[in-house]
């Protein structure tokens, strides 16, 4: 092994250490919580029904993972979120386009948007069950209601906040309204649209779990509620962990997409 290879290996090790250092605080806190949890269960005389020990939760997790119970719950909830989120995005984008091209039309629907923005979607569940039953439609509508508004507001902000100087450049080149939208307004609104999508995705997850706990026989929300009814606190904890982790992963994926499409905001000054 020559000197260069040794140096290269040292550098690689340093890089790995740096990466580890970056995640060290989060790792320490997580391990600390786990240790505390274990201590409380071992010496705290806490009933295993109220707080099952981590070892038991881990065993249950392995069982649920191997039987497919957990994966099917995650899959169904993900599918619902994807469906509702897509519909909400299409509606928000369409209405924001209407707002951009016909600003006066806002007088017709502005009040309704403000009204429903302040109504929690879960409060609509009784009515939605009456109107749509306990099938998939109710859950989809709840996700749409939860994720539409943050996305709509962000897209409108992106569209209407487009730099007037750039619009004048398009005009000086005799751009049509259609061409201006696709070549100037839309690209300049991408960061706002993606931030709105990221916020809405979190809202979708919160609402779907709520909806599944009230009106569903499948999904992660139902898994948690059913476990509670069966006095299986360990399964409840696994359900909560699954929701948190899936939410984090979705957020991470969208974050990567934002970085890919919008670039590093601080670097290219596109803020």
């Amino acid at each position: 092994m020559n000197v260069n290879e040794t140096r290269l290996q040292k550098l690689k090790k340093l890089k790995k250490l740096k990466k580890l250092k970056k995640h060290l605080p989060a790792l320490t806190i997580t391990l600390g919580i786990l240790a505390l949890w274990n201590l409380v269960c071992t010496f705290g005389h806490v009933n295993a029904y109220v707080l099952p020990p981590p070892q038991k939760v881990w065993k249950t997790f392995l069982k649920m993972a191997s039987s497919g119970e957990l994966l099917s719950g995650i899959g169904i909830s993900l599918l619902r979120v994807f469906r509702g989120f897509s519909i909400a995005f299409a509606l928000a984008f369409g209405l924001a386009c209407v707002r951009l091209f016909w600003p006066k039309s806002e007088a017709c629907y502005g009040f309704l948007v403000r009204f429903f923005r302040n109504v929690p979607p879960l409060s609509m569940i009784p009515l939605l069950i009456l109107w749509c039953g306990i099938g998939e439609t109710t859950k989809t509508v709840i996700i749409v209601l939860a994720s539409f508004f943050p996305m709509y507001l962000s897209i409108v902000k992106g569209f209407t906040g487009c730099d007037r100087q750039l619009l004048e450049v398009a005009r000086s080149f005799a751009y049509s309204r259609f061409r201006t939208f696709f070549r100037v307004v839309l690209p300049s609104a991408v960061p706002d649209i993606l931030v709105g999508m990221r916020t809405s995705l979190g809202y979708s997850w919160r609402s779907i779990i709520g909806a599944e706990m009230v009106a569903a026989s499948t999904g992660l929300g139902h898994l948690i509620l059913f476990a509670q009814q069966m006095s299986r606190t360990d399964k409840v904890i696994i359900g909560i962990f699954a929701i948190g982790l899936i939410g984090c992963l979705c957020d991470l994926a969208l974050g990567l997409l934002i970085r890919r499409l919008a670039g590093d905001v601080s670097k290219n000054g596109w803020d």
Binding site: V184, N268, G269
Partner: protein
């Protein structure tokens, strides 16, 4: 005429005291293939004139005729609406703003091709423009990665790639350093000679006007207060003897306005009159004197 004919152009903006008139019946002829430089102090209406010609604002009155057609007909030409599919627009205008105004999400190549439709984009043509504005090797760079001078060159390239018959330039080199400004002026003259495009150029600098102009127009009181044709060949040194007479006559025209400012007296009514050819031009005079001293 085969240029741009402006008659009785009026524009005012709302102000605290009612309306502030910026252009008040401006008459001006911009000859085809010529560089017309508009000089004037801040707020005299130079940018407004350019914005009206460029169709970025509506005039309150008057008429602008492009190559014998009206402004609305020009817009139709530019958009290619009157032509059969595939035919090139007959009359195209491009605007180079004071700021580069580049699209931050597009790289240099795409910014330069911004004015072109997809079918009009030819790789070789765009590469030629990039070479002409001295940005070879920076094709993939984003605006935030370029200096102010380079960004302004991209803006100039964007206008040139559009192959316009008429280019409006609103103090495009104002923010550039001395050396970049000089090289950009040379580049502009070279491109004009190659393409034969008409140029309307707004500046504060008398030296810049003397270097570039085929005609210098002094704008004051909302009108073209004086016009000075410059027939010397390019390249020009603004301090050369043959331009001294012209420099003096422009500075003399400004001098009276300066002295009226210093004495605190209001400018005489005839100083703003087109027929008297005596414009109010204090700021420019002061600036140019300092600039000339530095250069000497």
């Amino acid at each position: 005429m085969n240029g741009i004919e402006i008659r009785g152009l009026k524009k005012s903006y709302p102000s605290e005291d009612g309306r502030l008139s910026v252009l008040d019946g401006l008459d001006l002829d911009l000859e085809e293939g010529a560089v017309t430089v508009v000089l004037g102090k801040s707020g005299c209406g130079k940018t407004t004139l350019l914005r009206l010609i460029g169709g970025l604002e509506e005039a309150d009155g008057g008429n602008i005729r492009f190559c014998g057609c009206t402004e609305s007909e020009r817009d139709a030409f530019s958009a290619g609406r009157h032509l059969e599919k595939g035919s090139p627009p007959a009359f195209k205008t491009a605007y180079v703003f004071q700021e580069p105004r580049l699209m931050p999400w597009l790289n240099v190549r795409d910014n330069i091709a911004f004015g072109l439709k997809r079918k009009e984009r030819r790789k070789d043509d765009i590469s030629a423009v990039i070479r002409a504005v001295g940005l070879s090797g920076f094709e993939k760079a984003y605006p935030s990665q370029l200096s102010g001078g380079m960004q302004q060159r991209v803006a100039l390239g964007r206008a040139l790639a559009y192959k316009p018959s008429f280019i409006m330039m609103d103090e495009p080199f104002a923010a550039l350093d001395y050396f970049t400004r000089e090289s950009m002026q040379r580049e502009l003259l070279r491109i004009r000679a190659e393409t034969g495009a008409s140029i309307l150029f707004v500046t504060h600098s008398l030296d810049e006007a003397l270097i570039l102009a085929d005609k210098i127009v002094l704008l004051s009181g909302g009108r073209a207060a004086a016009e000075y044709p410059v027939s010397l060949p390019h390249p020009r040194n603004p301090l050369e003897d043959s331009l001294a007479g012209l420099r003096h006559s422009i500075l003399n025209a400004l001098g009276e306005a300066v002295s009226s400012r210093i004495s605190g007296a209001a400018p005489k009514a005839d100083a703003l009159n087109i027929s008297s050819k005596r414009p109010v031009y204090g700021l420019l005079y002061a600036r140019e004197r300092i600039y000339t001293r530095e250069r000497i």
